[in-house]
């Protein structure tokens, strides 16, 4: 598999933040990803939906460069960051040291303070991860991704392990953060509403292929109750093979 990173400064960069060409991945001869093509322009917020085991996490791991056994071509920008479902903070580093881990430059301290303020975790800068709640830990994880100013932000069901109330707050925070840091986002989720509220474009992965790929043409603010929202939601659910009779 070839893999090109983009070392050029932002004004010289190309039009896209992610390009996949005929990406395939087999596990023991079984094709989990079966020829995926995708072009994501800079700044787009893409939600990737799919049922459990459809290969969406596999795809995310390939794009995050954690799985090098896939076939096909993957093109990603130099600056990428991942937020996993579990926060994956280093328990032996205080919050601020977790955020600055792997960040170089002489203004690291100031950048850490800024990004922790952004996610409203300033008061916990010196805390150990073990003392944080699930939502707080995930906010730190988001800060750790954003301090790198990623061109491509990969989110692997980042709110999947959070309680419903925290999830609502985290969605709002993520929207604010994306408005400020303007990354291209690939957001893996299994929550159709979450996808439709957040994303510019919704893709459905089913049995290793993209079976649905449409822009979300809903006016802001997006309201769940609106007829357009309901129609779109039903179409995405149909693509997922789910009939919601409620």
């Amino acid at each position: 598999m070839t893999r090109d990173s983009d070392p050029r400064p932002a004004d010289e960069r190309g039009p896209n933040a992610l390009v996949l060409a005929d990406v395939r991945r087999r596990f023991d001869g079984r094709a989990v990803l079966d020829g995926l093509d995708l072009v994501v322009p800079h700044g787009q917020l893409v939600a990737l939906l799919g049922q459990s085991g459809c290969g969406k996490s596999t795809l995310l791991r390939i794009i995050a460069d954690l799985d090098r056994e896939a076939e096909g071509d993957v093109f990603v920008p130099e600056r990428r960051a991942v937020v996993f479902q579990d926060p994956r903070l280093m328990p032996w580093k205080r919050v601020s040291d977790n955020v600055s881990l792997g960040v170089r430059g002489d203004d690291v301290g100031a950048r850490v303070r800024e990004v922790l303020a952004d996610v409203q975790m300033t008061a916990h800068a010196r805390a150990w991860p073990a003392t944080l709640s699930g939502g707080e830990a995930q906010r730190v994880s988001l800060a750790r991704a954003l301090i790198r100013r990623p061109d491509l932000l990969l989110l692997d069901e980042p709110f999947g392990a959070l309680d419903a109330l925290t999830r609502i707050k985290m969605r709002a925070l993520l929207a604010v953060m994306c408005a400020k840091y303007r990354p291209t986002v690939l957001f893996v989720t299994h929550d159709v509403e979450e996808a439709l509220i957040f994303a510019d474009r919704v893709i459905v992965l089913d049995a290793g292929r993209f079976t649905f790929d449409e822009p979300v043409a809903l006016d802001a603010p997006r309201r769940r109750a609106s007829a357009e929202f309901q129609t779109m939601s039903e179409r995405v659910l149909a693509a997922l093979g789910v009939v919601d009779s409620s």
Binding site: L66, R88, P91, L101, R126
Partner: protein
């Protein structure tokens, strides 16, 4: 438990005990409670030896042992013995811990290292280190050499086993996260593997400390020319039970001291585990 009046809002319910903590009359501080066991032992010793049942020829009185201790401190004999033995332990421990650690890291972080080293170490683990004493004497003579090597060997094995296991048990998901943060191999080891294996290393250090005092006693029987082993040998040949018991008590105190040292290290280095915030 009080029975609620019939017809009351609590009818049929059991009253749970509340406010128990504040009702305790005398709160004994925890360190004092922990000391009560050892103190009881000394009291028992004092009681048994001051009765007529136990003659001083079978077990010395506590005062006798203390007097011997004081006079040996005055003559400087005790300090030099402790120093001679302590020096052996410190040198052997340093060598053993460093070697165990290096080998564990080599075996832990690469597949190739594991294949080459771990099976070999499993073989060494099966050898009781004290069985090597004759070999060590033939190779290294009867002075410091075999003593220090024996102590080092007994310190190295628990360090290797625990550190290697610790490295292998480092959460793979954290290593993955580190990779997505752009950490290279060396940075992954420094920021994730080493701190992740630290708790296991400290467990190994505990076992090492237990082993080295045991190894010291065996090592100093090779040719007791100085140290606590010499005192022990002298005490045995002259039937000086007070000296023998004194040395045993000193061994116990040195052991306790080394455990306190490891506990201090753990408290310092594993702060993050206790989830305590700030300093």
């Amino acid at each position: 438990m009080t029975i609620a009046p019939p017809g009351g809002t609590e009818q049929g319910l059991r009253r749970l005990v509340t406010g128990a903590r504040s009702r305790r009359i005398i709160a004994v501080p925890r360190p004092l409670r922990r000391l009560s066991g050892p103190i009881a032992l000394f009291v028992l010793w004092w009681l048994l030896t001051s009765s007529r049942q136990v003659t001083p020829s079978s077990f010395p009185r506590i005062g006798e042992v203390l007097d011997t201790g004081v006079s040996m401190v005055r003559s400087g004999e005790l300090q030099s013995a402790i120093w001679a033995s302590g020096r052996r332990v410190l040198i052997g421990l340093s060598i053993g811990v460093s070697c165990g650690l290096l080998v564990a890291i080599a075996a832990g972080i690469t597949r190739r290292g594991e294949d080459l080293i771990d099976s070999t170490m499993q073989v060494f683990k099966a050898i009781p280190s004290f069985s090597l004493v004759p070999l060590l004497i033939i190779w290294l003579g009867i002075y410091e050499g075999p003593k220090i090597v024996l102590i080092a060997l007994s310190a190295a094995m628990p360090i290797y086993i625990n550190t290697y296991g610790g490295i292998r048990n480092v959460d793979d998901r954290l290593v993955e996260a580190g990779r997505t943060l752009g950490l290279n191999r060396l940075a992954l080891i420094r920021h994730i593997v080493v701190p992740g294996a630290l708790p296991s290393f400290l467990t190994g250090l505990r076992f090492s400390f237990a082993n080295v005092w045991l190894a010291l006693v065996v090592a100093e029987q090779i040719n007791a020319n100085s140290g606590l082993g010499l005192l022990l040998a002298d005490g045995r040949s002259s039937f000086r039970l007070d000296i023998i018991v004194l040395v045993v008590v000193i061994y116990a105190m040195l052991g306790l001291l080394s455990y306190a040292f490891v506990r201090l290290l753990e408290r310092r280095l594993l702060q993050w585990r206790r989830g305590f915030e700030g300093e």
